[in-house]
Symmetry: C4
Subunit: 204 residues, 4 copies
Amino acid sequence: MPTNRLEAFSDGVLAIIITIMVLELKVPAGHDLSDLVHTTGVGLLTYLLTFIYVGIYWNNHHHMFHLVRQVSGGLLWANLALLFCLSLFPLTTAWVDDSRFEPIPVVVYGLNLLSAAIAYWVLQTVIIRQQGPKSLLREAVGADIKGKVSPALYLTGILSALLIDRSGPIGVGLAEACYVAVAIMWVVPDRRIDRVVREHKPAG
Amino acid sequence: MPTNRLEAFSDGVLAIIITIMVLELKVPAGHDLSDLVHTTGVGLLTYLLTFIYVGIYWNNHHHMFHLVRQVSGGLLWANLALLFCLSLFPLTTAWVDDSRFEPIPVVVYGLNLLSAAIAYWVLQTVIIRQQGPKSLLREAVGADIKGKVSPALYLTGILSALLIDRSGPIGVGLAEACYVAVAIMWVVPDRRIDRVVREHKPAG
Amino acid sequence: MPTNRLEAFSDGVLAIIITIMVLELKVPAGHDLSDLVHTTGVGLLTYLLTFIYVGIYWNNHHHMFHLVRQVSGGLLWANLALLFCLSLFPLTTAWVDDSRFEPIPVVVYGLNLLSAAIAYWVLQTVIIRQQGPKSLLREAVGADIKGKVSPALYLTGILSALLIDRSGPIGVGLAEACYVAVAIMWVVPDRRIDRVVREHKPAG
Amino acid sequence: MPTNRLEAFSDGVLAIIITIMVLELKVPAGHDLSDLVHTTGVGLLTYLLTFIYVGIYWNNHHHMFHLVRQVSGGLLWANLALLFCLSLFPLTTAWVDDSRFEPIPVVVYGLNLLSAAIAYWVLQTVIIRQQGPKSLLREAVGADIKGKVSPALYLTGILSALLIDRSGPIGVGLAEACYVAVAIMWVVPDRRIDRVVREHKPAG
């Protein structure tokens, strides 16, 4: 089975996830700049962070599937599991925003990020197993340092929000800093795959 | 007429159906874990079940159309009938969730699942007729045991919710067990089609 | 310019239009069959009619673009004008449903159907002009009897709802009958284009 | 990396943006023409303007990517930045409409249009840099007069709404006139790219 329909379906789901969050941004009740800042000021930043996360997943998905030729049943379900985790982003983002950065919503947002990272790692592992010992993706991923640092950072963030200064802004601020740090780390697309793609030139 | 636009359109509709259900999940009113469990605890499980159902239909649709080369008018409408049934999933899912598993919503959810199964069977039959006596899809489907067991299980579920213990949890629990059983049965994609595709190697 | 991206974009818009109407269907407040019928009984039928209309436009769009090879600026905007008219379907459908078939919403629904028919005719004319005197589409369309009968039926429906029995059900019933009649007339895809496609075998 | 998935993803996002605005249009509360005009009369015009803007961006995006063969990491993010700006259109459009053309919402709508224009310019510049000294896109864009006049018109509109007659209709009217003028200027797709595409005949 070729990968084109799986990619098209994933693109569709990711396009919808990245766009429907706008429906969560409420139209300001008043007509002044202060109303805009009050209603969507914080929300816009949270929306931007989630937008960047979905963009990162789309970029990495896009890159990874350049090294995939065959779709198996396991791969289809690993991909759907990733899409399921990502489809909860608008909900957890809206909860963080609605609660104005209360600890528990920030923790749940972190757990959602963590679940998506695990689902991505499972998908990557399924593909590597399917490709066998000469897996191009294994070669491209290498030691996968980013893939190991990210869950550690998410966990740090989650624990910070849970344990440090629960009635003040320090724990939550640390958590958000961890989440933003992972995003920054991944904004640069995976050059390792670019290199392997160039060297092995698979048909696009 | 080639099948690529029909597949793209179906992918689009399925991607939207699978994603818009998130809009039905309400943001918890409070900021604690108990609020999350209270607001979306049950909903999340129902959402997950419907997500898996749409994933199953997408997988099977994807597999089936590997054996289709030509699109006729009848096939277009049989496909739209399937999409129509699937497009009602978010509504019936939300009703089950809102009612906290009352019998009638569970019955209507089962009828919706049943209608989609029938529409899928009609689509399959239209394709087999169109392909004539040497139909690859007929060969791939074979005795179609899963396709015959599913409606029986749906009907069992519907009748359980209607007839058994209407004021208690037994009938509804049986119905949900039936629906989950069908999902588990189908999570493995249709290997019969994989085999026929491999043997006959149609162009992707 | 080839037509593939225009078709993909149109497919995306049509897939969204056909699916978001489900969001307009409200989850019944109670948990009984009577609640379902009361809340969505009428709505479901109106939803079905609009679903069929969008399906018809998708089918015809799909068929028509099999005869188009080049995309010009005028064609892009004629196509967007058609998509704009179709994107209002969920709104006018919801109004008809909310008002329980009051005359004015039924008239506005008819005007929406009429505007889409006119936009489709303009798109068809733009393509025929672009293709010049040997236009395959002109050959396929022929006398375009369906294309001439449809606006007449829409106008009959609109005038019925406006003029006949405004406080009773006869005018509105006639109007709905006209709209349903057009849908039935078009449910069969355009065999004329099938024939021309077969004869001239353009690359899909 | 080829451009097909980037185009498909962008088409998906743009298709959703252009369609979800319909969800913002409220179903009229009453059943008369005056209710329709009162509820959606103004909204429909604003919706139409934003629809045309998204259509323009889609057209230009579509044209521009005919001259792009390779996707780099920078290009992916420049494209996502453009999609982010465009994804805010439904929100700012709804605010203008809700406020019945109050100055601040009109200014924010103008800033949104301006940000999209800047993001488009950045995307164009990233592509030209990537293509190097023999860039076909640079040749096609030429002096880019439209690209320079548009931000000037947006700024004029923004300043008009801010400074002139803040309690009366003149400043806001001027601003809207500026926004409409830019749309009219861009409705004609970019013939310069058509010409370069024809001359260099890249594979579609």
